[in-house]
Symmetry: C2
Subunit: 280 residues, 2 copies
């Protein structure tokens, strides 16, 4: 059996009882390392926090390993119980669908343990989840690559009065240009887009396109470390959020559409200079 278990958003305490029970009975435990594992105490002392909690050792599985060795992992899951741990919920990212599809084709049974993810935890700011339009991803711009397909989507959502969740780029274990040239695998340090960079890029695209999809006066909500004990949620116009230091990753951004009175009352708490927001 392959258990794909969501860890939630904060730290080791955000696993569910169901998830913990499953991990404890597994013979082998992997953890995906595609996204940020910072808050799970993995950056400084390896996997020790989780390993201590689970009472067993954990193998860090980066994208490369999952792509190259998925079948090894899955074959093991055929004869024993294997856990694959993911930050948030198992179906936030495409890659875990891939794993399920491969498991199925090898006739490995799969069980999923759900948890909170950015897709629903953003509800904490008071904007109703059912009033969001399509989600967009904002990639890091480079000198030569400045894709802006998110612009039409935001424009469309805003015309319909809907909110837009912007997922910000994460670059983990990218081969460095130098290493590609030398044919040796060396990696760039991880890079996480800040809310400030996202807003700069958004405003740059608005200046280029000039179709008034939004402006620096457009109300937004910035979230840093959503679901963690030190989460930060700040609402305000783009130009104000541009000046806020949101601290360490992960960041995400919501562009506010039309609001209902209850949504406005909740947003008020997160406005710059207001009382502290509810924390998780």
């Amino acid at each position: 059996m392959l258990y794909i278990i969501g860890l939630g958003l904060g730290d080791e305490k955000d696993i569910t009882l169901r998830g913990l029970e499953a991990v404890k009975k597994c013979q082998k435990v992997f953890i995906e390392a595609y996204t940020s594992l910072l808050s799970f105490g993995l950056s400084t002392d390896g996997l020790s926090t989780l390993e201590k909690l689970y009472g067993k050792s954990i193998t860090l599985a980066d994208r490369e390993m999952v792509e190259e060795k998925a079948d090894d992992i899955l074959l093991e899951a055929r004869s024993s119980d294997v856990a694959f741990l993911v930050v948030g919920d198992p179906f936030g990212a495409t890659t875990h669908s891939d794993l399920v599809v491969r498991a199925k084709s090898l006739e490995v049974d799969v069980r999923v343990v759900h948890n909170a993810s950015v897709m629903n935890a953003i509800g904490v700011c008071g904007l109703q989840l059912y009033r969001y339009g399509e989600t967009v991803s904002i990639p890091f711009f480079t000198d030569t690559w400045r894709p802006d397909s998110f612009y039409e989507k935001i424009q469309r959502n805003r015309k319909l009065g809907l909110h837009t969740l912007c997922l910000l780029d994460i670059r983990v274990k990218e081969p460095s240009l130098e290493s590609l040239c030398r044919g040796k695998k060396q990696y760039e340090p991880p890079k996480y887009m800040t809310i400030n960079t996202a807003i700069e890029q958004l405003l740059e695209v608005e200046r280029t396109r000039g179709e008034n999809a939004f402006s620096e006066e457009t109300a937004c909500v910035g979230f840093a470390r959503l679901g963690s004990e030190d989460q930060m949620v700040v609402a305000g116009p783009m130009k104000q959020l541009l000046e806020v230091d949101f601290g360490p990753p992960l960041h995400c951004l919501v562009i506010v559409g039309n609001t209902h009175p209850v949504e406005e009352e909740m947003l008020e708490f997160y406005m710059l200079g207001k009382s502290l927001p509810p924390t998780s």
Copy 2:
């Protein structure tokens, strides 16, 4: 301190360690009874499963109680630790925003413990969460009340190639017409919309409006008891799902938009007559 704690979707095992820790230190524990508590073992032997797990008694809070006695609950939370438990995540429904707003106005500190909700757990069917448009609610039609504002929203999502989550009506503790006439409070038995009823209503509206927003050939995914051990997920055209017995509530429905190859591969597993889907 007021702790608003998501219980997740399945049963008592779906609380997080963080949530359980918080409940255990609270002097008073309430549980919202607006939505279905069926799977939490509350219908037969009251709250005993949860009470046993938490080691303390729980007060069932229906909508009426929360509306009438919110300030009593909140004043208690000013001087002691109070837990308010909700099925799914705390910000799936408007009402919990209300509670936070009232808490803030009474200067009561609020902490939120997130969990899975229908809004992200539907990811299990393989349709990417970021490719959903606005969520719609489908209310029970009566002889005189047949609101169909969901129709335009579905139409819009489909034109954009986006998936649509349809939340199906729940009627809990509705005063009976008879009791309203007599001036005595008596309640109708709880009523949960099935996927079959939802599809019948959808097709009725399509026949009336005739704008080809969808048809009985339109691909959908029906979810029953999402996140529970006996969850059921079936994909197929509307007319096929109409014939499926999905069993006990809660049900919800996704109307499929344009699909990517990985989405299609996952959906395949849920097609009628195919192998069993991954369960949670």
